[in-house]
Each structure stands twice: as C-alpha cells, then as structure tokens.
C-alpha cells in the first residue's frame, strides 16, 4: 500500500499540479513574514499567531482541492491520516516528503520531520536575540494542517518543536489528535 501511495502521489505531482517558480514562492512567503514582523513591531508571538491564522484559512480551502485532486476517501485510523498527510499532501503541494516518526504509545501524537523546507530557502533569522527564540518562521504550516484536518472532522493540535533556522539540527512538527468531531445534524433532529 505504501508503494501505491508514493507512486500515485508522484504521478499527481507530475501531471495534475500547476507549477509556479520556487523562488517566487519563497520570496512571496518571505516578504509576508518580513512585513508581519514590521507591522507587529517585532512582537514575534503575535507574528506566530497571525501566521497560524493565515495558515488556517489556507488549510480549510486547500483540503477540498486536495480531495478533488487525489480522490482519497476517509482514512480508517489516525496512522493512515499521518501517512496520507506526509506522503500525498506535502508531496502534492510542496514536493517534499516529511518523515513520520515519534508515535506515542496511544497512537494519538506523531512528529513530522522536514528534511527540506521550501518556504525557508536562503532565510536567516534577524540577529536580535528574541527572533531566534520566539519566531517560528514556517508557522503557516501549523495553521494549514490544523484547518485542513478540521474540515475532515479531526481536531488536532499542531506545533513546531524545532527549526533549522533557529539553529536546531532539524525541522520538526508535532501533531496531536484531540478528538474526532461529530457530523452535524440538521436543525430540529436529535
């Protein structure tokens, strides 16, 4: 099943995805973050929150595009979800395949390790002491994952654990399943 997923996601990336210049993408995201830093006057916590909000709005729409392109059905377990997110989702939109690791024993939390982060090419965090400790440059990804999974009835908490831009040796995201959201009932029914 894993080979099948990988082959089909490679195929979708090659044939059905519109491509844009990578530098344009990186520079656009970079100027968004730089402008937010200027607007919030270096309050990095607010910048992180704003990036997550933007990511959430992206995620709730992105998931429909993802479902339309890949035609995947419901995942049977959270482990399946993790595999689909990393091997198909990230591949189709960013052309990277993060690794899924660090499962907790109850199977509700896992980590995604990104070997390369196209959002952060050529980026160096500014030299004031707080940026390296407080700013999560790629925080938009946390919002995207949160929003996308919420639209398929999974409430998750997503956080960055480490980031190469901060000097850590790898970029790691931690996803924790909070609960399954129930389908809505029409008004007036039990």
């Amino acid at each position: 099943m894993n080979k099948g997923i990988k082959a089909s996601s490679d195929d979708i990336w090659k044939n059905r995805v519109d491509k844009v210049n990578a530098e344009l993408f990186t520079l656009t995201y970079g100027s968004v973050v730089a402008q937010l830093v200027r607007d919030f006057k270096n309050d990095y916590q607010k910048v992180n929150q704003q990036l997550e909000k933007m990511g959430y709005n992206i995620g709730i729409r992105l998931v429909e595009d993802f479902l339309a392109k890949t035609g995947t059905g419901r995942c049977q377990s959270f482990k399946d979800t993790a595999e689909v997110v990393s091997k198909v989702g990230f591949k189709v939109f960013l052309n990277v395949t993060p690794q899924v690791t660090n499962w907790t024993s109850d199977g509700k939390t896992f980590s995604l390790i990104l070997d390369e982060n196209p959002l952060a090419e050529f980026v160096e965090l500014p030299d004031d002491e707080r940026a390296k400790k407080e700013l999560w440059y790629s925080n938009v990804l946390t919002g995207v994952l949160k929003g996308a999974l919420e639209m398929v009835q999974l409430e998750v908490d997503v956080n960055f654990v480490s980031d190469v831009l901060r000097g850590d040796d790898r970029t790691e995201l931690r996803l924790q399943l909070i609960r399954f959201l129930k389908d809505e009932m029409p008004a007036g029914e039990d």
Partner: protein, 151 residues
C-alpha cells in the same frame, strides 16, 4: 440521460445550491428552469433528510474497517437520485431519469472541476455558508449548466 435537478448541501446541513431543469421544446436555444428557487426550500429539506438518513444507515449497516459503506443512489417510480459526499462533508445530489444507472463520475467531476475550482479557490466566496445563503457565482452556474444541463 435526462437530468431533472441538482442539489448541493454543505457540511452544516444547509442547502447551498439548487438547480432544476424543465423540459423545453427546443433545448438548443434556451435552457430554463429555476436556480435556488424559494419554493424549493422545503423540497431541499425533505431531500436532505432522506439522503442523510440513508447515509447513516449505510454507515451503520455494512461498514467494515477496510472500507466505509456509502450511499450511491436510490430510485423511486419516477426518478433516481445519485449522491456523492466528499470527506470534507460536502454533499452533492442529482435527480435523473430511471435509465441512468451511475452518475458517480459525473458527481465527482462536478466536485473537483467546478466546485473546487470556482467556489473553494475563490477567496471572496465564504467557506462556511450562513444558513439561507446560496451559491450565486455566475461562472459556477454557467459551468454546471453546461456540464449537467440538457445538451
């Protein structure tokens, strides 16, 4: 293959689009019918109720861990209703004549190529429709007519 009507329900159980096609003598020159008519509100609720209940029955009886059981279609004496639900909770329904057996591909096509392209990717159209508001995007309506309407 004649298609009588097309309905979209969102994940909050509201009808966000309804399109009916009436029979015309000369389909090449005009296509008529109603779009989002008020009178259809009650029909929409009834139709949604049926679809929702049947879908729940499909899930409860016949669901296995390997593959979820989903509602495909049901038929009455005069028409057949075809149903598709995306994992994100969007429900599409087409009422067609009895001869058409399977419209799943068409439903999937409308979802991926028309709905996702023009409603989801349009930043000015809301993700969650307020109860009572409908899709009024002209391009969407035109494309659906072209794809599903009488040729």
């Amino acid at each position: 293959m004649t298609i009588f009507s097309f309905w979209i329900f969102d994940r909050h159980c509201n009808c966000i689009y309804s399109r009916e096609w009436t029979q015309v003598l000369n389909p090449a020159t005009e296509s008529s019918g109603t779009i989002n008519a008020k009178a259809n509100e009650d029909n929409a609720k009834l139709l949604f109720g049926v679809l929702f209940s049947l879908r729940n029955i499909a899930r409860k009886v016949g669901d296995t861990p390997e593959q979820e059981n989903t509602l495909n279609s049901f038929a009455t004496a005069k028409y057949r209703a075809h149903f598709y639900e995306s994992p994100s909770g969007l429900r599409l329904c087409i009422l067609s004549d009895l001869e058409t057996q399977n419209l799943q591909t068409q439903l999937r096509d409308v979802y991926s190529n028309i709905y996702v392209e023009h409603i989801v990717k349009n930043p000015l159209s809301p993700v969650d429709f307020k109860p009572g508001s409908k899709i009024t995007n002209q391009r969407f309506i035109r494309l659906v007519d072209r794809y599903l309407g009488p040729q």
